[in-house]
Amino acid sequence: MPPYLLYALAGAALFCIGFGGVLLASHLLRKIIALNICASGVFLLLISIARRNALDEPDPVPHAMVLTGLVVALAASAFAITLARRIHATTGATALAGFSAKEEEGL
C-alpha cells in the first residue's frame, strides 16, 4: 500500500474516532479534544492529497489549507476551552447533558 494511502486511511480513521468522541463523550474537555482529533484527521487527509504522483514535488495548496485549518482549529479550541471554563465557573458543570431538558421548559 503506498504511504499516502495509508495516511489518508489514518486520517479517515481519526476523523471517525473524533466524530464519535464528540457525540459520545460527556465531559466537555473530552469533547473538545475529540473535536481536535477529528480536525487532525481531516488535516492528515489533506496532507496525503498533497502528493500528485510518486516522482513530483508535493502540491503546496493542500499544505496551505492545512495551515489555515490549524489556525482556525486553534482559535476554535481556545474559544471552546474558555467557554467550558466559564461554564464550570458559573455552574460547576462539566457536561452539557444536565441542561437540555430544563432549557426547553423555559426556566
Partner: protein, 1002 residues
C-alpha cells in the same frame, strides 16, 4: 469595488476593537451605514451591468480566489445590509449602560468588534467563489456568531453557545473533508472550474454528501436543528435577530450555490426529495414545538426552525429527472425566486420579531408569554411589529411572505409534485397557530401584570421598521425578481409591464374609494385615545367621502365610463381594481352600511376602552370589504379576502375576555383554513390558464375540452374555500361563535363584510370566472344548489331553538346567505336577479335586526329572547324597526325580502327546479316560526321581570341614545323602500336586472 462590502465592516471591526468603549458604537454605526451604501452600489452595478467578477490580487483560477456577485448575491447583500442597519440601531440604544436591563450580562464592549466581524464574514460568504475561502469565511461567521451568542453571560446562554460551537465545528470538519476530496479529484478550489469538472464519481458523491451534511447542520435543518432554539433564544435581542435572520441563511446560500454549480451533475432526484421531505418535517416539527413554548424567544426560535423548512422545498423542485437545467426549465425560476423571496421575507420578519421580543423583555423584565397580557395597549408599536412580522411568516397578503408562498405554490403545482402543496398549506395554518397564540396574549387585559419600564422609542422603531419592510417588500416584487434573475442558472420568462394610464381619472377613482377608509384607519391610529371628537369627525368624514365618491362613480358608470386601476405584482399577474356594475352593487351596499354602522358604533362604544384600536381596525375592515367588491381578478380578490380576515380578528377579540379570545381562535381557524384552500384553488386555476380577469370567461371555456375533470376539482376547491365565509353548512361553525363580539361588529360582519364577501366570491367565481354555461357543464351547480338548500333549512331549524337573540340572528344569517347561493346555483337570469337583490336586501334587513339587538343589550341588558316580553312598550321605536326588518326577512309583501324571494322562486321554476320554491316556502314558514313569537312577545306580553337599566328611563328624551336609535330606523326604512320602490331606477332590483342581463349575455 465589490470588495468594499467585506473590507468596510472588517476595518470597522478592527477600529472598534482598538478604540474601546467610548467610540465603538459610533464606529459600528458608521461601518454599518457605509456597508449599506456599498451594498446598494454593488446591487446597482449588477442591475446595470450583470454579473460582476473580481480576482483577488489579480491571480485567477485555478489557484487564485475569484469573487463573484450575481443577482442572488446582490439581493442577499442588500438584505444583510438592511437588517444590519436595523439591528445596529437597536443595539446602539440597547447596549448603552443606562438601558441595559439586569441579567443581560457584561461584555458589551466586545459586541461591536464581534458584530462587525460577523457582518464582514456574512458579506464575504455572499461574494466568494472559492470553496476553501468559503470554509474560512464560514468559520469566521460561526466563531463570531457563537461569541456573540455567549455575550449574554447567563448559564443558559453559555451552555447553548457551547452546544452551538461543537455542532458547528463538527459541521465544518465535514465540509473541509468534502473540500479535501474535491481537491483530490479535480485539483481546483474554484467553483466555476469545479462546476465543469465535477461529475458523479464515488469521490464526488462522498464529497457532496459530506459538504451537504455539514451545511445542513449549520442551517439547522430538521433533525439537525437541536442546537438552534436554545442558542437563538438565550442570546441578547440584537444577536438573536442576526442569528435567525442572517447567519443560518449564509450556510443555506452556500448550499444552494454548491448544489446548482459544483454538484449539478452529482445530485440526484432522490437527494432533492429527501431534502424536501426533511424541510417538510422541519415545518411540522418546528411549528408544533413553537406552539408548546411558554417563553416568547423560544417560540420565535422554534419558528425559525420551521420557516427554514420552507427554504428546502427548493431542492426537490429544481432537481428533476432531466437534470437541473433540463426539464425543470419552466417552473425552476419560480421555485428559485420564491425561495429567495422567502429568505428575504423571513429574515426581515424574524429580525423584527426578535427585536420586538427584546423590547418586551426590557419593558416587562421577562419574556414569558403570560406576562404579555395587554401589551397591545401598553406597547402598541411593538405589538404591531409582532403582528406584521407574524402576517409575513404565515404568508397572508399583503406581505413578502405571501409572494414567496404564492411563487412556491405555483412552482409546486406546475412541476406536478403536488405532495408539497399540503406541506405549504399546513405550514401556513400551523404558523398561524403559534402567531395568533402569541398575539392573543397581547389582546387580553389583566390586572396583575408586571409594571412597564420605559422603553426608548428607537428600540420599538427599529423592530417596527424591519416588520414594515417585510410587508413593503411585496410592493416591489418585480424589481426584486428581476435582480434575482441576473445570472440565475435557470432562464427566466419575461413579463412585460402592462400599461397603466396614470393620468386618467378612471385610474384614481377605484384607488380613492378603497383608500378613503385606509387613510381613515391610519389617521385614527395617530390620534390619541382621548381625542374622541376628532376621531368621530375623521370617521364620519371618511365614510361620507366614500359615499360621495361612489355616487360620482355610479353616475359615471351609468354614463358608460370605465374605471380601472392596474399594477403588475409578479409573473404577469396584475393587481386590478375595476368598477363594473356588480362591483358597484356591492360597494354601494358596503358604503351606505359603513356610514350607518359608524354612527351606531360611536354610540355603542361610548366610554369603552380601546376605541382607537377598534375604529382603526373597523376602517381597515371596510377597506378590505370594498377591495373585495372592486377586485377585478381572482388574485386581487384573494388579497383583500385574506386582508378582511386579518382586519376582523382584532374586532372579534376586542373585549379581551376569555370567551372572545376563544371565539377569535375559532373564527381564525375556520377563515384561515378556508383562505388557504381558496388560495390553492386560485393558484391552481392560474397555473392552468395563465393570468386572466373577471369577465374573461372564454379563457376557461377554451380549456374545458381537455381539462374538464381538473376544472371541476378546482371549482370545488374554490367553492369550499369561499364557503367558509359564506357560512355554508358544514363550514358555518364560526358564525354563531363570533357573536361574542360587540354589536357593531356583529352587525358589520354579518350584514356586509365577511359573509357577503364569501357570497360575493361565489357569485364572481360562478359568473365571471367560469361563466354560467361552463359551470353548468362542469356539473357543479346542482350539488351547490343542494348544499344551499340544506343550509337554508338547517339554519332556520337551528334558529328556532336558540334563546340567545344574537345567536338566533346568526343562524338566520346562515340560512339567508344560502338564498344567494341557491340563486347563483340555479341556472337562469331570473334566479340571478333574485340572488343579487337578496345580497343587498339581506344586508340591510339583517343589520337592522343586529342594531336592535345591540340596543336591547346596551340599554336594558337583554341578551335572550325569553327576556324580551313586553319590551315593545319600553323601547317602541327599536322594536318597530325590529318588527319591520323581521317581517321583511319573513318575506311579507311589499317589503324587500318578499321581492328577492319571489324572484328566487320564479327563477327556480323557470329553470325547472320546482323544489326551489318548496324550499323557499318551508324556510319562510320557519322564519315566521322564529321571528313572529319574538314580535308577539315584545308587543303583546307583559314583562316577566324588571330589566337592568343602564340609565334611568326618565332622564332621557328617547328610549336610548339617538346614536343607537337612528341607524336601525334608517335601515328599516331602507328595507321598506327597497321593496316598495323596487321598480324605480335607483333600486337594487334595477341594478340587479342590468347585471343579470350582462352576465347571461351569450
Amino acid at each position: 469595488m465589490i470588495t468594499w462590502v467585506f473590507l468596510l465592516p472588517f476595518a470597522g471591526a478592527l477600529a472598534a476593537f482598538l478604540v474601546g468603549r467610548r467610540f465603538e458604537a459610533a464606529i459600528g454605526g458608521l461601518a454599518v451605514s457605509a456597508n449599506l451604501a456599498a451594498a446598494v452600489l454593488v446591487a446597482a452595478l449588477v442591475w446595470n451591468e450583470g454579473v460582476q467578477h473580481h480576482t483577488i490580487g489579480g491571480w485567477g483560477a485555478p489557484l487564485g480566489i475569484v469573487l463573484t456577485v450575481d443577482g442572488l448575491s446582490a439581493v442577499m447583500l442588500l438584505l444583510t445590509a438592511f437588517v444590519a442597519v436595523g439591528v445596529t440601531v437597536y443595539a446602539m440604544v440597547h447596549l448603552r449602560k443606562e438601558t441595559t436591563a439586569g441579567g443581560e450580562g457584561a461584555g458589551e464592549e466586545l459586541f461591536w468588534p464581534l458584530w462587525l466581524f460577523l457582518l464582514a464574514a456574512l458579506n464575504g460568504v455572499l461574494l466568494s467563489g472559492d470553496i476553501f475561502n468559503l470554509y474560512v469565511l464560514l468559520e469566521l461567521v460561526g466563531l463570531s456568531a457563537i461569541a456573540l451568542a455567549s455575550l449574554a453571560g447567563k448559564p443558559d446562554a453559555l451552555v447553548a453557545s457551547m452546544r452551538y460551537l461543537l455542532a458547528t465545528m463538527v459541521a465544518s470538519m465535514f465540509y473541509l473533508a468534502g473540500v479535501a476530496l474535491l481537491y483530490a479529484g479535480h485539483h481546483s478550489l474554484d467553483i466555476a472550474t469545479l462546476a465543469t469538472t465535477v461529475g458523479a464519481s464515488g469521490a464526488d458523491r462522498v464529497a457532496c454528501a459530506f459538504m451537504v451534511l455539514g451545511l445542513l447542520v449549520k442551517t439547522a435543518l430538521f433533525p439537525l436543528h437541536f442546537w438552534l432554539p436554545p442558542a437563538h433564544a438565550n442570546a441578547i435581542a440584537p444577536v438573536s435577530a442576526v442569528l435567525s435572520a442572517l447567519v443560518v441563511k449564509a450556510s443555506f446560500f452556500i448550499l444552494v450555490r454548491l448544489w446548482v454549480s459544483v454538484f449539478a451533475g452529482t445530485v440526484t432526484v432522490s437527494m432533492g426529495q429527501l431534502l424536501g421531505a426533511l424541510g417538510a418535517a422541519a415545518i411540522l416539527w418546528g411549528s408544533i414545538q413553537a406552539m408548546r413554548q411558554v417563553r416568547l424567544k423560544l417560540l420565535i426560535a422554534h419558528s425559525t426552525v420551521a420557516q427554514i423548512g420552507y427554504l428546502f422545498l427548493l431542492f426537490p423542485l429544481i432537481t428533476v429527472e432531466g437534470g437541473l437545467f433540463g426539464a425543470a426549465a419552466s417552473w425552476a425560476p419560480m421555485a428559485w425566486t420564491g425561495t429567495f423571496f422567502q429568505v428575504l421575507a423571513h429574515a426581515l420578519a424574524k429580525a423584527a420579531m426578535f427585536l420586538a421580543a427584546g423590547v418586551i423583555m426590557l419593558a416587562l423584565g421577562t419574556d414569558r408569554l403570560e406576562a404579555m397580557h395587554g401589551t397591545a395597549g401598553r406597547l402598541p408599536m411593538t405589538t404591531l411589529a409582532l403582528g406584521l412580522a407574524g402576517v409575513t411568516l404565515i404568508g397572508l397578503p399583503p406581505s413578502g411572505g405571501f409572494i414567496a408562498k404564492w411563487l412556491l405554490l405555483q412552482a409546486v403545482i406546475e412541476s406536478g409534485q403536488w405532495w408539497w402543496a399540503p406541506v405549504l398549506v399546513s405550514g401556513s395554518l400551523l404558523t398561524a397557530g403559534y402567531v395568533f397564540l402569541m398575539l392573543a396574549y397581547t389582546f387580553q387585559p389583566r390586572e396583575d401584570v408586571p409594571p412597564l419600564r420605559a422603553v426608548p422609542r428607537w428600540l420599538e422603531g427599529s423592530a417596527l421598521g424591519l416588520a414594515l419592510a417585510a410587508i413593503l417588500v411585496s410592493f416591489q416584487t418585480e424589481q426584486f425578481l428581476q435582480l434575482l434573475s441576473t445570472g440565475m442558472p435557470f432562464s427566466p420568462e419575461a413579463h412585460p409591464q402592462s400599461p397603466s394610464d396614470f393620468a386618467a381619472a378612471g385610474f384614481w377613482m377605484p384607488l380613492a374609494i378603497v383608500g378613503s377608509s385606509l387613510v381613515t384607519a391610519v389617521a385614527i391610529l395617530f390620534l390619541r385615545e382621548e381625542q374622541s371628537r376628532l376621531r368621530t369627525i375623521v370617521n364620519l368624514g371618511g365614510a361620507a367621502l366614500k359615499l360621495v365618491l361612489i355616487v360620482i362613480v355610479a353616475l359615471g358608470v351609468l354614463a358608460g365610463r370605465t374605471y380601472e386601476a392596474r399594477f403588475q405584482i409578479v409573473l404577469g399577474f396584475d393587481f386590478l381594481l375595476r368598477i363594473d356594475s356588480l362591483a358597484l352593487l356591492f360597494t354601494m351596499l358596503s358604503a351606505v352600511l359603513w356610514f350607518v354602522t359608524t354612527v351606531y358604533a360611536i354610540g355603542y362604544l361610548e366610554g369603552a376602552p380601546n376605541r382607537r384600536r377598534f375604529f382603526s381596525f373597523f376602517s381597515l375592515c371596510v377597506t378590505a370589504s370594498v377591495g373585495v367588491a372592486l377586485a377585478g381578478n381572482l388574485i386581487t380578490f384573494f388579497i383583500f379576502y385574506e386582508f378582511l380576515t386579518l382586519a376582523t380578528y382584532p374586532l372579534v377579540v376586542h373585549r379581551g375576555t376569555p370567551e372572545s379570545l376563544r371565539a377569535g381562535r375559532t373564527y381564525l381557524s375556520y377563515t384561515l383554513a378556508g383562505g388557504i384552500v381558496l388560495f390553492v384553488g386560485v393558484v391552481w386555476l392560474h397555473s392552468l390558464a395563465g393570468p386572466f380577469d373577471f369577465g374573461q370567461t372564454h379563457v376557461l371555456a377554451a380549456l374545458a375540452a381537455e381539462h374538464g375533470a381538473v376544472l371541476t376539482t378546482v371549482v370545488a376547491i374554490l367553492l369550499l374555500g369561499l364557503g367558509v365565509k359564506a357560512a355554508i353548512v358544514p363550514l358555518h361553525g364560526w358564525l354563531p361563535v363570533a357573536m361574542v363580539a360587540p354589536a357593531p361588529v356583529s352587525a358589520l360582519l354579518h350584514a356586509v363584510a365577511v359573509v357577503k364577501a364569501g357570497a360575493f366570491g361565489i357569485v364572481r367565481v360562478v359568473y365571471d370566472v367560469f361563466g354560467v354555461s361552463l359551470a353548468a357543464q362542469l356539473k357543479v351547480l346542482a350539488p351547490l344548489a343542494g348544499i344551499a338548500a340544506v343550509t337554508i333549512i338547517y339554519g332556520s331549524l337551528r334558529a328556532l331553538t336558540q334563546d340567545d337573540l344574537k345567536r338566533r340572528l346568526a343562524y338566520s344569517t346562515v340560512s339567508q346567505l344560502s338564498y344567494i347561493v341557491l340563486g347563483v346555483a340555479t341556472v337562469g337570469p331570473i334566479a340571478t336577479i333574485g340572488a343579487l337583490m337578496h345580497l343587498v336586501h339581506q344586508g340591510v334587513m339583517k343589520i337592522t335586526l343586529f342594531f336592535c339587538a345591540g340596543n336591547l343589550a346596551e340599554t336594558l341588558h337583554i341578551h335572550k329572547v325569553s327576556e324580551m316580553a313586553g319590551v315593545g312598550r319600553r323601547m317602541p321605536w327599536t322594536m318597530a324597526a325590529f318588527t319591520v326588518a323581521a317581517l321583511a326577512m319573513i318575506g311579507v309583501p311589499p317589503l324587500a325580502g318578499f321581492i328577492s324571494k319571489w324572484y328566487l322562486g320564479l327563477g327556480g321554476l323557470a329553470a325547472g327546479n320546482s323544489w326551489v320554491m318548496a324550499v323557499l316556502l318551508v324556510s319562510t314558514v320557519l322564519n315566521a316560526g322564529y321571528f313572529l313569537p319574538i314580535i308577539y312577545a315584545a308587543w303583546f306580553k307583559e314583562p316577566t321581570s324588571a330589566w337592568k337599566e343602564t340609565e334611568p328611563f326618565l332622564r332621557q328624551r328617547f328610549e336610548c341614545s339617538w346614536l343607537l336609535l337612528a341607524p336601525p330606523l334608517v335601515t328599516a326604512l331602507l328595507a321598506v323602500a327597497m321593496g316598495v320602490f323596487a321598480a324605480s331606477p335607483f333600486s337594487p332590483m334595477y341594478l340587479a336586472r342590468q347585471i343579470s342581463a350582462m352576465l347571461h349575455a351569450p
